[in-house]
Subunit: 320 residues, 2 copies
């Protein structure tokens, strides 16, 4: 069992990356939940990544990675595989740079995410979740496209790390951060930022009980492949935790907690009815973990609400 | 100066209309703003209509009107003119009933609203703001479509009135309601609901200073035509206050206040940074009126945030 060596991400790296994002992404607000603060006796904030232009944090990583490509490389066009939000981010950024984008998606992706990608003019190739990585490779071989991986990419991780960087700027007293984990891009960025800026912060990961990839990886000491499953948290079911992301996560994260579908739904409902926020199930998992008593705040706590792209009919059913 | 006789809307009418909406629209939350409550010494809530499936309250009226058409009439297809949100609502409802929808829109409508209409499969006919009513009539004459007017329609007004009905259910102690006014559908529904349920509530209307249609109408005693103008509040610039809506508004509303473009922008910024809400400029005007000191709350206050459909680039610029 050999650890992959990954470069250290410094506070300076994050500050420069965050500054470069300013003209492109929103510096999202960190909003206090009066009800959760009361309940836990310490401030609880939510970081509103669902209010990024594409409705999810993925813009941070996609812009960082694509903007750093050499122009002649970028001009060949971008390809990625995504269950939705990363695909929307790549489509949005590619349009900004005027280059082609191809998104390889599972057929089960929510319509709202498919529509978002189409709206930004990207091409979509549908495939099964199992085959999406192979399908992408075929297109790279055929068309010379550049892969911008959804999470196992250093620039993507650095971009996602700007979210925790902003949290630590806004509320330096934060003691706990709770982060959803799919492939681990946001969690790796958060762990890197915490390691660089305030190592005492307790970082907790949250994942669907139907697909406990990080729990399994932490136990095994390496990423473990998982079969695709249907869960409300459709953004948190890649084939496994990333290899690179895992190296940033493992030394920092306090642990991974798993949530049932009902617990995830309760998080969506709470955010809507108590705070007026429309957050997708994947993005609601940090608050759901607090509500379920599965993470106990260590002082002031920030929950990263990673996205808000949920099909209207699904949403209406969840909050009814 | 003759007043048009309009039928009284009863609490029972509103209760039945609200119940019929339950399977179709969201019962949106009424969320307290801790900061505004502190500032004014009484609870201030925002009613989150921007979280309806199409991102605006217009679903209430469009569904109510279209669902009440005789099936054989509805089957001929629906037409309307709209700057965006009513068009999205009609498109969404028409899709639900499997009938054709044609939306006559100004060429200046925000792209996000155009996209929303297209996504729901409606046809769009672009025209100038000045010509949109004439253009719609041409299509009615040619294709036999049924007009579902954006505000001067009793069922639309009744549908919009369910919003204030829900506010009064959730917070019977409310003393002030602040409502944006364009053609007056939401304001008329609010006035009708307040008259039926709690006449002591002070209802205030808010409009852009660049297009003070209700202020002019209240002074003249009848709706006054206005030239189209460009304002951040793109949802609040129909050719005039409605004739029918005005009859519901006039006896109830305490007054209309006007906001500068900067004041409107400040409302958008506040809702985002203080509450994490992404609200379009038109929808932010009630909170903007409070922030600008132009409405002083009479006890517990509800602000109706009418919609959230704002072009991402415009939004990013507004909140930066």
């Amino acid at each position: 069992m050999t650890a992959t060596a990954v470069p250290t991400i410094t506070k300076d790296d994050l500050a420069r990356t965050a500054a470069a994002l300013r003209d492109f992404a929103v510096r999202t607000p960190l909003v206090e939940s009066a009800e959760l603060s009361r309940r836990f006796g310490a401030p609880v904030w939510v970081k509103c990544e669902h209010h990024q232009p594409i409705g999810a944090f993925k813009l941070r990583g996609a812009y960082t990675a694509i903007s750093r490509l050499a122009p002649e490389v970028r001009a060949r066009g971008i390809i990625t595989h995504s269950s939705g939000n990363h695909g929307q981010a790549v489509a949005y950024v590619a349009k900004h740079f005027g280059v082609r984008a191809v998104i390889v998606m599972p057929e089960t992706a929510p319509q709202v995410k498919v529509d978002g990608i189409r709206r930004h003019g990207a091409e979509i190739v549908f495939t099964t979740k199992k085959e999406r990585e192979r399908k992408a490779q075929e297109l790279i071989d055929r068309d010379g496209l550049v892969m911008v991986a959804p999470y196992d990419n250093l620039d993507v991780i650095m971009g996602q790390g700007t979210c925790a960087f902003e949290i630590l700027e806004d509320q330096p007293g934060v003691g706990t951060m709770i982060v959803p984990i799919g492939g681990g891009g946001m969690l790796a960025g958060t762990c890197a930022a915490v390691a660089a800026i305030k190592p005492s912060v307790a970082v907790w990961a949250v994942e669907p009980a139907l697909s406990p990839k990080l729990s399994a990886a932490l136990q095994a000491g390496h990423p473990v492949p998982f079969e695709p499953v249907d869960t409300l948290a459709d953004g948190l079911v890649p084939p496994s935790t990333g290899k690179i992301t895992f190296e940033y996560i493992r030394p920092v994260v306090r642990g991974a907690v798993t949530l049932t579908e009902d617990e995830i739904a309760a998080g969506v409902r709470f955010l809507f009815h108590s705070m007026g926020l429309r957050v997708e199930p994947s993005g609601a998992t940090p608050v759901a973990a607090l509500l379920a008593g599965k993470v106990v705040p260590n002082g002031p706590t920030a929950c990263i609400l990673t996205g808000g792209n949920v099909d209207p009919a699904v949403f209406a059913r969840l909050v009814a």
